[in-house]
Subunit: 327 residues, 2 copies
C-alpha cells in the first residue's frame, strides 16, 4: 500500500446534524455547510493574506440556467492554490440516508429480500447525493475536493466491523494534492450481506491509518455534555482523558465523582449510533495519541478547532477536547 | 481477486451522445435515458409477465417538495425483483465533463498547475453528477443500480493506458445482485499526473475481465457508417468481422473494396475520442469473442440489442454487429 508522504494535518468530520436539517428529509443546512467550507479554507491558508477564491465547481446549479463562468486566465496566473490541502473530510448522513435505511432495515442486512435490496440502493442514492453537494461546496471555496464513496473504494464489513478498508485511493488523492471527501455509506457485509458504515467508524479507521495531527468533529451542539444537551442542567465536558486500558475520566470541569457516566440521547431514526458512538469512536482515536476536538459548527470555536488552535488551559474555547492521558 | 459466480450477460454502454443533449452544457436527454432504463428492465425480465415496477429511488427530486412515497408492504410481498440483473452499465459523459476537461486541459495532465487541478475537480463533479442521475433513473425502473466511479475504485493509468483497474468491487456488487454503473472519469496517471478515462476504454477492460455474452453500445445514430452519418451518401455498416491479427473487414453490405476505410468525425470538444475510439474499442472487444452491437438508443433495435436478440442474417435489425471472424 502507498504511504503518505507527509502526515495528514487534520481529519474533519462534518456531522450529519451539523450540515443537514435533521427534521426535514434530504435538506442541507446551506449556511452551516458554506461556513464549514469557508472555515476549512481559512484553516488551510494558515493566516496567509486572503486570496481571491478561485472556485473549482464549474457545473450548473439546480435552477440556474446560465452557464458557469470560468476564469481560466486567473487560474493560469496562480502559482498554486496557496492552501495546505493535507486534510481529509468525512461527513455523516443527517437527514440523507437515514430515512431510506430505517424504512428498509438496510442497516440490519438481508439482501435476499427485495425491500432491503431496494432500501440499500435508495440509501446509497441519498448519501451519495449529499456527498456530491459537500464536494461541490468545498470546490466552490477553491478546495480541490474529490468524492470517495467507501462502497466504491471496496470497503466492507463482517458483522458491522470493518474488515476491508484499503486507503490507497485516499493516500494517492492526498499525494496528488486533493482533499478526499468520504461519507457514511452502505457497504457489503460478509455475514449480514449489507449494512451501513457510519462516518464516525470511518474517521477512527482513517485516524489509525493516516495518523493526523488532530481530528475535529463539527456538530450541532458545543460538545459532549454529561446528559442530553436539551436538559437545562446539562454540563459541557471541556476535557476528557482516555487511558490505554479503555478507561476515561473527565478532567474539566470537576464533577462530583470523576468517572461519572455520560447520559446521551440517540434519536430513534439514527441507524448508525448518534452521540454514544461518537464518544466511543472519539475515545478510540484519542487512545492513538491523536487529539480530538468536538465543537459546534459555524462558530469561532469551530474555526479554531480546524486550525488546531485549541488550548485547554484557557476557558475561551467552547468545546470538548479528548486526549490520551499523559501518565 | 473474486471471481464472477456466473458469466455476466451483457455490458451496456449508454453513450454520452445518446443520453445527453451534446450541444447544451450538462443537459440530460430525459426521454432517451428513461427509455434506456425501461428497455434494460425489459431485457432483464426476459419476457416474464410485466410486473408492477417497484422504484428504488426514494430520494426527493429537484423541485419536488413532497416526500417520496415508499410502498414497503408491496416490497415485502415480493419474492424478488424478478430480474436477471447480471448486467453492467457504463456511460459516457456527453455534455457533462467535456466542457470542464477541455477548458482546463485536465485530459492532458499536469496537476502542478492550478488550472488543471481545478479542472480535474470540476470534471469529476460534472461526470459524477451525471452518474448520480443515471443510477437514479435505473433505480426508478426497479433496477438495483450502484454507482461506481473508476477514480474511487482506484483505477489509474500510465500515459493514458489503464495500469490499475481492479474489478473486485464490480464483481462483488454483481454477486450481491446489484447492477454496477460506471462512467468515463478523471483518473490519476503515473506519468501525466491525471487524465480522462473514456467509457469505451472501461468497457473493453471490463469485457476482458468479465467475459459477457455480448456488449451493446447505445448511441445517437443507427450504428457505424462508412463516413460521417450527416453525409447523405453515408452507408450503415451492418456487419464487421475482426480477425486475431488486428485486421477487420466489412461483411455487410458489400462495398467496393472490402477493406475500405471508415471516415469518422470527431467533435472538437470530445476529449476522449468519439466514434473512432468507439470502433477501435469495439473491435478489440469482438476480438475477445464477444459480439458487439452498436445501435440507436430508444428504438426497437436497441431493445433487441439489449435482449441479445440480434440476427445478422435478416435485415430487420438496424445497427452494426462487430464479431470475430469464424475461422
Amino acid at each position: 500500500m502507498a504511504e503518505a508522504a507527509r502526515p495528514v494535518r487534520c481529519i474533519v468530520k462534518l456531522g450529519g446534524a451539523a450540515i443537514t436539517n435533521k427534521g426535514e428529509l434530504e435538506s442541507i443546512d446551506e449556511g452551516s455547510l458554506r461556513s464549514s467550507c469557508a472555515q476549512l479554507r481559512q484553516a488551510m491558508s494558515d493566516n496567509a493574506a486572503p486570496e481571491k477564491v478561485m472556485g473549482m465547481d464549474w457545473s450548473r446549479r439546480p435552477g440556474e440556467s446560465a452557464d458557469p463562468v470560468v476564469d481560466t486566465e486567473g487560474f493560469a496566473d496562480m502559482d498554486g492554490p496557496g492552501l495546505d490541502t493535507n486534510f481529509v473530510v468525512v461527513h455523516g448522513a443527517g437527514s440523507f440516508g437515514h430515512f431510506q435505511a430505517s424504512r428498509s432495515g438496510a442497516h440490519k442486512g438481508g439482501l435476499h429480500t427485495t425491500l432491503v435490496k431496494a432500501g440499500f440502493v435508495a440509501t446509497r442514492i441519498s448519501v451519495t447525493s449529499l456527498n456530491q453537494e459537500v464536494v461541490r461546496a468545498l470546490a466552490r471555496e477553491g478546495i480541490p475536493s474529490i468524492g470517495l464513496s467507501p462502497f466504491a473504494c471496496g470497503w466492507s464489513t463482517r458483522q458491522r466491523k470493518l474488515v476491508s478498508a484499503n486507503a490507497s485511493q485516499i493516500i494517492q488523492s492526498l499525494h496528488a494534492g486533493f482533499v478526499p471527501v468520504l461519507h457514511g455509506d452502505g457497504v457489503l457485509d460478509e455475514l449480514l450481506d449489507c449494512t451501513i458504515l457510519s462516518g464516525d467508524v470511518i474517521i477512527r479507521h482513517l485516524a489509525q491509518l493516516l495518523s493526523p495531527k488532530y481530528v475535529v468533529f463539527l456538530t450541532d451542539v458545543h460538545g459532549v455534555y454529561d446528559r442530553p444537551p436539551t436538559d437545562p442542567n446539562a454540563v459541557l465536558l471541556r476535557e476528557i482523558e482516555v487511558d490505554d486500558n479503555g478507561g476515561w475520566s473527565i478532567v474539566k470541569p470537576a464533577l462530583q465523582g470523576n468517572k461519572r457516566g455520560v447520559e446521551t440521547s440517540v434519536a430513534a431514526h439514527d441507524t448508525t449510533g448518534g452521540m454514544e458512538t461518537k464518544i466511543l469512536e472519539a475515545a478510540a482515536i484519542a487512545r492513538l495519541g491523536v487529539d480530538v476536538y468536538i465543537t459546534k459548527v459555524d462558530t469561532e470555536h469551530s474555526l479554531r478547532a480546524l486550525k488546531g488552535d485549541v488550548n485547554t488551559s484557557s476557558d475561551d474555547w467552547l468545546g470538548t477536547v479528548i486526549c490520551r492521558s499523559a501518565k
